[in-house]
Symmetry: C2
Subunit: 294 residues, 2 copies
């Protein structure tokens, strides 16, 4: 609201604004709006015209024009000169994949995930927590699945997925409860647990067992198991996960054949930890204060 409505004659006492987070003078709104353009694209909206981007992002036409122009200029957007459609350019891959390359956990975990895959012939995933969601950060696909799905980078709700539950179970109650509360607890299937107390109960169970088992709470016909990767302070930093179809696996088979591998893998990854917080050896080089900008 740039051109605001005229101020009322009576001086409105200035509300004590927090001046933190998004209201901080440090927050650059232009960056946020520009990044919002990326999120306008998804499976259903692969090619968007200017007006569509404006509508989806909630920006007005002018703003959408400026941000698409900028992203196009930087090579993050392609533009069909004929149809005027914007699409994401391959360059955005750089953004996502540098994460995988800079995440020590992925690096350390990969050999163990491969080992687990060899022993079980099933898909093995590594997930991390991002707010109330889990994110798949590594995956060794099974040969059973013919489709070469791109699940890496996918976010799923933590409260109703095995990896999420494994991590929530092993963190302080207040913290897991907070995440559960903030989650948009939809009943994806009729087995989905959405009640906070019921969730606390299954967390306790998972904590006792050392792993979480989630049966058909997110996708029907699928059983998913996960074990947390704990850091030196016994805080969950990730989860190892295997999801199998009920057509090929029974609960008993899973417990006998899969769970031991799962838990060994998670523990092996945890033991491979480098420093206390998993941080790499740091270069403590003093740098000259830069004066120039732009």
């Amino acid at each position: 609201m740039r051109h605001a409505s005229p101020q009322p004659a009576v001086a409105v006492p200035p509300i004590r604004t927090p001046r933190v987070g998004r209201d901080s003078p440090l927050f650059v709104g232009s960056l946020e709006k520009g990044l919002r353009v990326f999120s306008a694209f998804d499976d259903a909206h692969r090619a968007l015209r200017l007006t569509e981007i404006a509508a989806v992002t909630g920006l007005d036409k002018s703003a959408a024009q400026r941000f698409t122009h900028t992203l196009h200029e930087l090579g993050y957007l392609r533009k069909d000169p004929k149809t005027k459609h914007y699409r994401l350019a391959p360059k955005v891959l750089e953004l996502g994949f540098t994460y995988l390359r800079t995440d020590n956990l992925v690096e350390r975990a990969t050999p163990y995930l491969l080992e687990a895959h060899k022993r079980t012939e099933e898909t093995v995933n590594l997930t991390e927590l991002d707010g109330t969601d889990i994110v798949y950060v590594a995956r060794v696909p099974s040969r059973h699945q013919i489709t070469f799905d791109v699940v890496l980078g996918t976010s799923l709700p933590a409260y109703c997925t095995a990896p999420g539950r494994a991590m929530l179970a092993f963190m302080p109650d207040e913290q897991s409860r907070s995440i559960a509360e903030r989650s948009n607890r939809i009943a994806y299937t009729d087995k989905t647990i959405t009640d906070l107390n019921a969730l606390a109960a299954v967390h306790a169970r998972a904590r006792r067992d050392g792993y979480a088992l989630v049966s058909e709470e997110f996708s029907p016909g699928e059983i998913s198991i996960a074990a947390p990767v704990l850091d030196f302070a016994r805080q969950p930093i990730a989860a190892v996960n295997m999801a199998v179809p009920m057509s090929r696996w029974t609960l008993q088979m899973i417990e006998r054949k899969l769970v031991p591998v799962l838990m060994e893998t998670a523990q092996a990854i945890a033991r491979s930890e480098g420093g206390p917080t998993g941080l790499p050896p740091l270069r403590r080089t003093r740098l000259p204060q830069t004066k120039r900008a732009r």
Copy 2:
């Protein structure tokens, strides 16, 4: 240069600036600077402090502070409260992987890549062109390689890699020459071709053969072959690629066993094209002009 030096007394005739591209009033510098922060992170710099980010990105301390604050607030950066180190957050994966999900080519090509992998037992890649670079957008890894490397999203120079050469060979001479000229033509090995005319010659050869073969021009001991995926106008839009170690393969074996599969795959992908430009069926829904912003 925000606080510019005082204007000289004599009126300097305003230079007729282009007012296009980055100089356009439509270009939002804040967005560009914010994105520059992402590029500060790579394999060698996984955790960065504020000052380091400032130094790497060329921003001053204040700017770095504002952009890191913003990205942190948006969830794209993690911050270690102790060491004050910033790292990329899993959320950046969303950015990269939506590309893979919105790229029709990847979707269409995947089954053919899998088929090619089955027939050869070797790694099969799909790459696209991004400026003077090729970018790996899909990959079916061989079982030979134990390391589960994350090559997806990786950029390599087009001029000295098989996929790049396959694409350059099949585009108009002027265009491929322009790309070659703009490329930073380093001799990665002593076999690397960097001369423009020599490159034109190998392009002609590849055009005649229907595929490109590059032997040890980028990495020693490796032979890489690639065939272009042509669109309806016979313009290259991607390349199918297989790279094999010389320890296991000879030129003759490659030509007999790999090349036929390679070319069939590339052609099959090309034939699977949907629309003329590969664009999906579009929804031509009129949208109400949005007035609000922010």
